[in-house]
């Protein structure tokens, strides 16, 4: 008797869990679509700015800019971008592990700028040095929202307190795959930029001035783009995780229903046996 009631209660509880995960899946799916669009919408700007930068970096004498300057690396800064929330499969774990192992490999001391609660929590728990943290950046940040992050990086690099800056974020490959990546942000590497063509531009006011304006913008744009990628990854990882959760819950409900029916039938059979047994004894 007690057993049957227990099973019934579990079925009901799992059913309501499935309802919640199903709702979360739908929400993540709609947010994911928007996040993916944002990632794609930012791409033309990113490509163009890279091309222009390649042209400029190839200019003779133009390459003397603080953000292009290579120094011996004695301090490293890592921008660690993660979601604010969990329930998105292995995304956070993978991200944190990837950055943590990178830090362990480094000889030079490393400071962190964390974007997102999950990365911050992990890094502080393991006693890493967190220089700045940004949380609650929202589902649809504008370039303005990420400017403070790039500001810190540019300032620190320009005044020499760090000599290399890395950008760690979950790259959105497709809905099923999000890969943690770690790119070097500063000094800006001309090697990562595609080869420039042979075109003579007229520069106004001068190639140096244009480069000086363009480089900070390049950094800002890269940071912004990484944040967008992270959001797209988060939402798609959550959608997949929640879909699996819903499926598992439904499966469990099926199994439990079977168990419940069996238990119920057993009980009826037992009762019938009792009755017939009693009747025989009286006869």
């Amino acid at each position: 008797m007690a057993n049957i009631r227990l099973i019934r209660r579990r079925i009901r509880s799992i059913q309501s869990t499935a309802k919640i995960t199903r709702a979360m899946e739908m929400i993540a799916a709609s947010k994911m679509r928007r996040a993916q669009q944002n990632v794609l919408a930012g791409r033309p700007y990113a490509e163009k700015i890279r091309q222009v930068l390649a042209h400029l970096a190839a200019q003779p004498g133009a390459a003397v800019h603080p953000l292009l300057e290579r120094r011996e690396v004695s301090n490293i800064q890592v921008i660690h971008i993660t979601p604010d929330r969990g329930l998105c499969g292995g995304l956070n774990t993978n991200m944190n592990r990837s950055t943590a192992s990178f830090i362990l490999e480094q000889v030079a001391p490393t400071v962190l700028i964390t974007v997102g609660k999950k990365g911050r929590d992990y890094m502080t728990r393991y006693g890493r040095q967190v220089q700045a943290e940004f949380t609650a950046i929202g589902d649809q940040p504008s370039l303005m929202d990420t400017l403070p992050i790039s500001r810190i990086v540019i300032d620190d690099y320009s005044n020499g307190s760090v000599d290399a800056v890395y950008l760690a974020y979950p790259r959105f490959v497709n809905t099923m795959i999000q890969r943690p990546v770690l790119d070097q942000l500063l000094p800006v590497q001309p090697a990562t930029i595609e080869r420039p063509g042979e075109i003579e531009y007229i520069y106004e006011p001068s190639s140096k001035a244009v480069l000086a304006e363009l480089l900070p913008r390049f950094v800002e744009m890269e940071v912004y783009h990484a944040v967008l990628e992270s959001i797209a990854s988060e939402q798609s990882a959550r959608m997949v995780a929640m879909r699996n959760a819903t499926e598992n819950a439904n499966e469990m409900v099926q199994d439990l229903t079977l168990a419940y029916n069996k238990a119920r039938q057993e009980m009826i059979t037992k009762e019938l046996l009792d009755i017939t047994g009693g009747a025989e004894a009286l006869a």
Binding site: K48, V52, E204, V210
Partner: protein, 141 residues
């Protein structure tokens, strides 16, 4: 007339893409008009109004700084922000203008003069574009 291809991209989206005849842009060294067969050019832009002509049609776009590249009759504008007249939030631009003006006037310590001025110029550009487009529409009706 086989014209220019114009693309205006911001970090958030592609704002404009199409064939045009003339682009008049607020360059850092003065207003400039770009016609087909222009030499390769790379310039910084001031916050201001960008005027695009295609046949008899004229479109005004408010730009808050950026870069302009001309190459093989293709004009690409990397803008920090770009809005067409219909997308401009008049109330917001007006509020931004007042805020910037106050900050400039107050002269309080901690006020970044250059930034306040840039903000003022941006909001003025927006207001101007909205104003002029509205006037033109009135004339037509």
């Amino acid at each position: 007339m086989a014209g220019l291809t114009l693309e205006i991209v911001t970090a958030e989206a592609m704002t404009y893409s199409g064939e045009v005849d003339i682009v008049i842009a607020p360059g850092i060294m003065g207003q400039m008009a770009i016609l087909p067969h222009h030499a390769p050019l790379m310039t910084m832009l001031e916050p201001g109004e960008l005027c695009v002509r295609k046949g008899p049609e004229e479109t005004l776009i408010a730009i808050s700084g950026g870069f302009l590249e001309v190459l093989d009759d293709k004009v690409v504008i990397l803008a920090d922000a770009a809005e067409r007249a219909d997308d401009i939030d008049l109330a917001r631009a007006e509020a931004a203008r007042r805020r910037a003006e106050e900050r400039l006037k107050s002269g309080a310590p901690g006020v970044d003069h250059a930034r306040a001025e840039a903000a003022l110029r941006r909001s003025l550009a927006r207001l101007k574009v909205a104003e002029r487009t509205r006037k033109r529409e009135k004339r037509l009706t």
